[in-house]
């Protein structure tokens, strides 16, 4: 399979370049129009994230194949992946908000992420407890 341009280890150069460029533009804009600087930083963050998403997908596939080899329950694996996704999104939003100086809202977003993650984890915790009880009984 021929490599696409900028694939492989060279990609780090692309990413660092994109980050530096975005940083320069953001600090240029921040003096005059802070609200636009914030939007530019959101766009830059999303782009860097999307660049990494293809790699994350590959890691997820490896994890899933490992899980199926270990005969883990598929539902539990799905829950773990969902939790990772929620953590990514909540963290992204909270960081953008605290960058824009809205610490209070950022904390609430983080709290919401934690609560949703806890709710998702309940079936796994119950499963663990059931297994322990079975071992004891």
């Amino acid at each position: 399979m021929p490599k696409a341009r900028g694939e492989g280890p060279v990609e780090i150069v692309q990413i660092v370049g994109l980050g530096l460029l975005a940083g320069m533009l953001i600090s240029l804009l921040r003096q005059h129009k802070p609200e636009l600087a914030m939007q530019l930083s959101i766009a830059a963050g999303v782009m860097l994230f999307v660049l990494m998403m293809a790699k994350v997908l590959r890691v997820v596939e490896v994890m899933q194949s490992l899980a199926s080899r270990a005969n883990l329950e598929q539902a539990h694996m799905d829950t773990v992946l969902k939790i990772i996704g929620i953590a990514y999104i909540a963290d992204f939003g909270a960081q953008v908000l605290s960058d824009a100086g809205e610490k209070a809202v950022a904390t609430k977003v983080e709290m919401a992420g934690k609560i949703i993650i806890m709710l998702l984890a309940v079936p796994i915790i119950l499963g663990v407890l059931d297994a322990i009880l079975k071992l004891l009984g």
Partner: protein, 65 residues
């Protein structure tokens, strides 16, 4: 997903900043504020589209529906 969007947003920002300054110097503060507002809205449209794509990508990657 390319770098052009970054340049587009930065360009809109710089142009809006310059126009707002010029209008302010000419004593037209109202128009300056309108230009700023329109610039923010235009950029907001781009950023919201990008964010929607990003959330869909994350949802598809981690199977969260």
């Amino acid at each position: 997903m390319d770098v052009q969007l970054l340049f587009r947003i930065a360009g809109v920002g710089i142009i809006v900043a310059v126009m707002a300054t010029v209008l302010k110097q000419a004593g037209k503060d109202e128009q300056g504020q309108m230009v700023t507002l329109v610039g923010v809205l235009v950029v907001l449209m781009m950023v919201v589209t990008l964010l929607g794509k990003f959330f869909n990508l994350v949802k598809a990657t981690f199977g969260m529906y």
